[in-house]
Amino acid sequence: MNWPDAFLAALRSLDRRAGRAALTVLAVALAAALLSALLIVSTAARTRVLDQLAKGGPLAGIQVAAAAPGPQALDADTPRPGRPRDIDADAVRRIRALRSVRSVVTLESNPVLAVAPSAAIQPFQDTLAGLDLRRVRTLPITVIVGRSPTPDSLTEVAVTEGYLRRVGLTRATAAKAVGTEVEIGAPRSFPSSRDRIDVRGRWTRAEIVGVVAQQAIDAQFLGSRAMVRAARAWTAQSDPDSGFELPSSRYAGLFVVADGLDRVGSARASITRLGYSTSSPENLIETVRRYLRVVEIVLAGIGLIALAIAALGITNALLAAVRERRREIGVLKAIGARDRDVRRIFLIEAGITGLIGGLVGTVAGYGIARILGAVVNQYLVDQGLPGVGIGLPALVVVGGVLGSAMLAVLAGITPAQRAARLPARQAMGDA
């Protein structure tokens, strides 16, 4: 019996037991959908992380403090900085010129007085930090809730967890801060004498549009560079004899993006040689990568277990079919079928089941991954981050469709073998 005839016979056999075949296909499809969705999502997540790590991004970011390097400057992700050291335009230029550095974003800051909406909270002094917010997605700034301020806005700020604590909120309730207004005053001291005034604020009002994690910014307010520069311009006119302490460094810090994770170490070493304290999550990220790998393995394991269960389902269904079709198999042999003809028909049945199940499952898995991707992208866009492209990797297609078919064929070997070995005498019924 040639392959097309065997294929046709197998197809007819499946057609005759359409209900059972559909259930078996469904089991394979579900397993394949689960496996392919997990693979697609984890591939997308991994691609994104690798992209960040390899091409430079928040995870390849180095924070440079306006301080000299402390002891064990390069041994730890976040070493203790040494004595204060100003970062000026020249320092920025020299760091930017380093070979292992992809880009440098300057962080500027100014002391501010702040008035929270609730009258129960006393006005307080803290810091307004500002940077080029167009670059925020390349920086290690995590938006906890809401979004980061628009790049040129003078009326939007994000707050950090310090502000939340001050107004009695937590990470869990951080959303309550979003949408509220805060009054921010840049201070300026005047010479203290009878006919002069002392400290006066230049007040602005800003809407809190998001809450960001504080690990990268030592300030309670994050705004646009224009906002902090305007505040700085006012405060900078303070009377030098007033005793009002202003930061002498032009830049409060720098965010340096290395040319990939493998360059973070050399970039940090170069910046340290220039005399500045650095910190970066390189050790942490390397460990995260390993954790991610473990998660991938676990996810793939779950999918494979599902597929193995589906394979057992195929075996079971085919064994049942063999039991039911003993006489039919005997008849096939009586009219000339060889053992291998019978085996071939059963294996093709299993293969078709796996192929259809794998195809349906992979398509469904892709659909599920797209839905998940849409949800994830909504979240990322909310965070001011680029979305994740959910593609259909060739490996997943091959793994999902052909893998399912192959697994089904493997699952069909035992039933097919059993069918092939049935004596032809079965054609005449039991003796």
Partner: protein, 253 residues
Amino acid sequence: MMRGRAVRLLAATLVVIGSACSRGSNATVPPTRRGPNLTYVAIGNGETAGNSVKNRIRSAWPQIVYRTVFPRSAIFVNLGQNSVTIDEAAASQLPVALSLAPDVVTVELTDDTFLTRDATGYQAKLERFVQRLQRGGRTRVILGNIPPGDREPGVLACTPNPPAGSGPCRIGSGFDIDASNARDAEFNQAIAAAAAASAVPLVDLHAAFLRARAAGNEDAFYAGNDFSPNEAGHAFIARQFEPAVRAALKSRP
């Protein structure tokens, strides 16, 4: 140590995975429309600075005016200072105000009533002050006059029959309320004349407080043994200024 590191690793891992697998909060805010970049400067005395309120940043009347009348994009500087003559303000507050090129300025310089007591000279100085502030019409200036002082608790404490619960007299028991009222009236005439001469609006706080007195509300604007209004008084003053400031914003060049 190990535990802390493990927690950090776990948190970082969850953040990375979470960024791929979870949905965050919907608490997002649409981008703010940029309004006009207005600048409002308050020039004035101790009341302008927010004296006698617990929290001047929150409760001083110019801060309230800024908060309630101006768009979010506006900038505000309060230059008010305690016990300042118009000459002193011309030296300390006026240059700073001019450097800010303000769109709206409120002027409440009334301490000359007890510091120089020269209403005639004051009027001329105020007119010059206002004219310089106006910057050829680019700045809208609003003048405020002197509220009646005869119900201030610090003043009542120095009368022959102080109200029950009054504190000690701190300005001398010979304080002549009638003479003080007469000086206030003289200065208010000077302020009104300066406003008219400079064609700037006048916020008649004196009349407003008398209306409040007639309605039995005035005493609530003062607290303790003070000469300056409390939070309620500042809110009242802010309400008197608000229509004029709104009008000034509308008439801005």
